[in-house]
């Protein structure tokens, strides 16, 4: 019995991330227990923004669980004396936001998927494990950030949802020069555009005569893949789970 109890957390954890009921219970618990300090949307308040926590975003689940149960000494993060199952539900709810990609491995041939990744030219714009282009987002931690269905949608219909900092723009300068790229950052005074040649164009509003925010992604829709190839590609991408905590540029603005 003691043995079984010791295993309980691991067993619970194995199912929780993909269990909508557990996540729903976790949400209620989060609202009642955590939101007062960490905010209703996890983005902090009196307490830290959970998206900025390396432990929450990339650390082992056990560490997060242990923090909930033991608290952090000399801080206002007190130990929460809840049943273990409920603590795991909180973990599951938080993870459903901070690492929404978690879940059981996607069926498919990962090696064949990597081959598709190379053949289809994905690496021309996307890095995985330090190799590839820079125009699109680095995909090394995609499997933590995105559920499999969403990965599939991004491949088939890249413009459905464009990653923050990667929307396509065409800027015409007062000099007549025109350039395209992704709008990595901007405010009322300046644009920071990563051009298609991988160089940055750092432009003041006053210098631009026209800025066109394109509604479509710079990424071409992937066509010509068989259903099996697509499945393998999704399996490969969903397996990319490097624990990289990467802030969108807007993070620094609030």
């Amino acid at each position: 019995m003691r043995f079984l109890l010791a295993l309980l957390p691991a067993i619970l954890w194995g199912q929780l991330p993909s269990d909508p009921a557990a996540i729903a219970k976790g949400e209620v618990l989060y609202r009642n227990t955590c939101a007062g300090c960490h905010g209703p949307n996890l983005r902090g308040g009196e307490g830290p923004n959970l998206f900025h926590s390396r432990m929450v975003v990339g650390g082992p689940p056990r560490n997060f669980f242990s923090l909930l149960s033991k608290g952090r000494p000399n801080t206002e993060m007190i130990p929460f004396r809840l049943p273990e199952e409920q603590l795991w539900q909180i973990v599951a709810y938080v993870y459903s936001h901070t690492r929404p990609g978690l879940g059981p491995p996607v069926p498919g041939d990962v090696a064949a998927g990597e081959h598709v990744f190379e053949q289809a030219g994905c690496r021309g714009c996307h890095m995985v494990s330090g190799k590839g282009g820079v125009l699109g987002p680095d995909l090394s931690s995609l499997g933590l950030r995105m559920p499999a269905e969403k990965i599939r949608e991004s491949i088939v219909n890249p413009s459905a949802e464009i990653a923050e900092g990667y929307s396509a723009v065409r800027i015409t300068l007062r000099t007549g020069q025109s350039m395209g790229g992704t709008l990595r950052n901007h405010d009322n005074f300046s644009y920071q555009v990563l051009r298609q040649d991988g160089e940055y164009a750092l432009i003041d509003h006053a210098e631009a005569s026209k800025i066109e925010r394109l509604s479509h992604s710079l990424m071409p829709a992937t066509t010509g893949l068989s259903p099996e190839q697509l499945q393998n590609l999704v399996a490969f991408l969903h397996r990319q789970r490097a624990p990289i905590l990467k802030f969108p540029v807007t993070f620094f603005n609030y």
Binding site: H52, D138, L194, F247, V249
Partner: protein, 520 residues
């Protein structure tokens, strides 16, 4: 007229063509010479009083301190925050282009990943840049190769593979196809220092040079015939400089151990601790060395910048290496041969009785730590420390943050002698030609150790800071303060300057922010 001719001669120092663009600042010390001299001259003695804050970048994940000097290339600024974060900003606006947050594999020392890194391991002095890569050292002894365009990790190498890690804190240095980096931990009693060169492309270790010779190697007899050489310290925790014409890289080393203040188990000179060494960039082969403090028992690391200056020396043009050492002396060495030329005190220094003609310092017998306590100047923090100095060829002056203070040294450790002399922090300008202090600026207020560095420009200015965060600009020739700005947090870094689209900026990290300034 004579002065003008002299100035022109002195200004003619050629730097590595890699650093020829006056607008950029591409190494910790701007270029290969370590002078922290920028040819930018839009901001001058005449107009610096009008200089205004341009933008501020606040670091969200608060570091304990910021020791980095930002780099700027083609209008993009790169810097580190502690040994875990890298940033790229639009250098005109401060807007973020990317950030990289390193996940330490193991925290230092404890070996327990749940423990925070030991204080000191997470300080960091900035990046190196080459092509589409930037490089930084981390608190868990990794050297990272990061894509300069999107902040993605391209490779990481473990500088202390199979060895205990005490952190890597220096800014790496690019030498052709290699990136050089040292380590910290010289005071742990567990380190045999080394300098590594890694391939820029792959992160593969190209060569490793140990700062302490193994038995049988040249100068191994400067250590006793015991195993103490294996833990003799001599860490390499700052950046070096290099001379492409002589094909030499110069790297400074730290104090010997395993016990900093009790040398009884390490009799001898303890080479190559507290030295500067000249190595071949391709192989790490040692060509010459000069030791500043033989058999150091005061923890006077010699990791201060080896500044490379081409100047007239007693009427003859000469390639010099100048270091303002923690032991309170400004050293001038011929960097072709390592031959000692001169040592003169720039801060209160009582430990040395004399220097031999070969440049060997002879310490006073009374300066050696003993059970009763040896009163010695400078104190353990030194006449200066790792904070970068600057040299302006137009004034012939070396600028440095100095400290007059004395210590009482016991074999078990030192204290500061507060009874006979209150510590006093200065910013000093020392004449290279004579070794004399031309002018000084005494800091009022807090007299805790000031680790703020210096920078000087062709605009006739020198920039420096107080311990409490006042950032100042002075006339490089006279020391007259022309401008100041309260950054509101401790400054423990060196300033830098750059230009984008014809506008000159001055930048400094202070506490948890980057500040930039420019003319209105």
């Amino acid at each position: 007229m004579l002065f003008l001719a002299l100035t022109l001669t002195l200004s003619a120092q050629t730097i590595d063509p890699r650093y020829a663009n006056p607008n950029d600042w591409l190494t910790y010390d701007r270029d290969n010479t370590g002078r922290r001299f920028s040819p930018l001259a839009q901001i001058t003695r005449a107009n610096v009083a009008q200089m205004k804050a341009e933008w501020v970048f606040q670091i969200t994940r608060l570091p304990t301190r910021s020791e980095a000097t930002p780099l700027v290339r083609d209008g993009i600024m790169y810097f580190t925050v502690g040994g875990e974060e890298a940033y790229a900003l639009d250098a005109r606006t401060g807007r973020v282009l990317w950030n990289y947050l390193h996940k330490p594999a193991v925290s230092t020392e404890s070996g327990d990943p749940s423990q925070p890194p030991r204080q000191g391991a997470n300080w960091n002095r900035g990046m190196a840049i080459s092509g589409t890569r930037v490089f930084m050292a981390t608190s868990d002894c990794r050297l990272l190769g990061i894509d300069a365009r999107n902040g993605s990790l391209v490779w990481q190498s473990n500088v202390r593979e199979g060895l205990p890690c005490f952190g890597t804190t220096g800014a790496p240095l690019i030498l052709g196809s290699r990136v050089l980096l040292g380590e910290r931990g010289g005071d742990t009693g567990q380190l045999r220092g080394h300098l590594d060169a890694y391939e820029v492309e792959t992160g593969k270790l190209s060569w490793r040079w140990f700062t302490i010779p193994a038995p049988g190697e040249p100068h191994a007899d400067s250590w006793p015939a015991t195993d103490v050489w294996k833990v003799g310290g001599a860490a390499t925790w700052t950046s070096g400089t290099h001379d492409p014409d002589l094909n030499l890289v110069y790297w400074p080393t730290g104090n010997p151990g395993p016990k900093d203040f009790d040398g009884s188990d390490r009799k001898g000179d303890n080479l190559f601790s507290n030295s500067v060494v000249a190595l071949r960039p391709a192989s790490g082969e040692r060509v010459w060395h000069y030791q500043f403090t033989p058999h150091d028992v005061w923890d006077w690391d010699s990791n201060e910048t080896p500044v490379l200056i081409d100047a007239l020396w007693q009427g003859t043009p000469r390639k010099l290496l100048v270091q303002a050492n923690r032991n309170g002396y400004l050293y001038v060495v011929d960097r072709t041969s390592g031959r000692f030329l001169r040592a003169t005190p720039f801060a209160k220094a009582t430990w040395a009785k004399e220097f031999t003609s070969e440049g060997r310092a002879i310490p006073r017998a009374t300066a050696i730590p003993n059970a009763k306590g040896a009163r010695v100047c400078p104190d353990v923090h030194g006449g200066t420390n790792w904070q970068p100095p600057a040299y302006n060829p137009q004034t012939g002056l070396m600028y440095l943050t100095a400290r007059d203070s004395c210590g009482i040294y016991f074999p078990t450790g030192p204290t500061i002698d507060l009874e006979t002399q209150q510590p006093q922090q200065y910013f000093r300008a020392v004449e290279l030609a004579t070794g004399k202090v031309r002018w000084e600026y005494a800091f009022e207020g807090v007299q805790e150790v000031n680790h703020a560095g210096a920078m000087t420009t062709a605009g006739g200015l020198v920039f420096f800071s107080s311990r409490e965060g006042q950032f100042l600009a002075a006339d490089a020739g006279t020391g007259k303060v022309l401008w100041h700005f309260n950054t509101g947090g401790a400054i423990r870094a060196g300033p830098m300057t750059y230009s984008v689209r014809g506008k000159q900026y001055v930048a400094i990290m202070s506490k948890a922010a980057v500040f930039t300034f420019a003319l209105p």
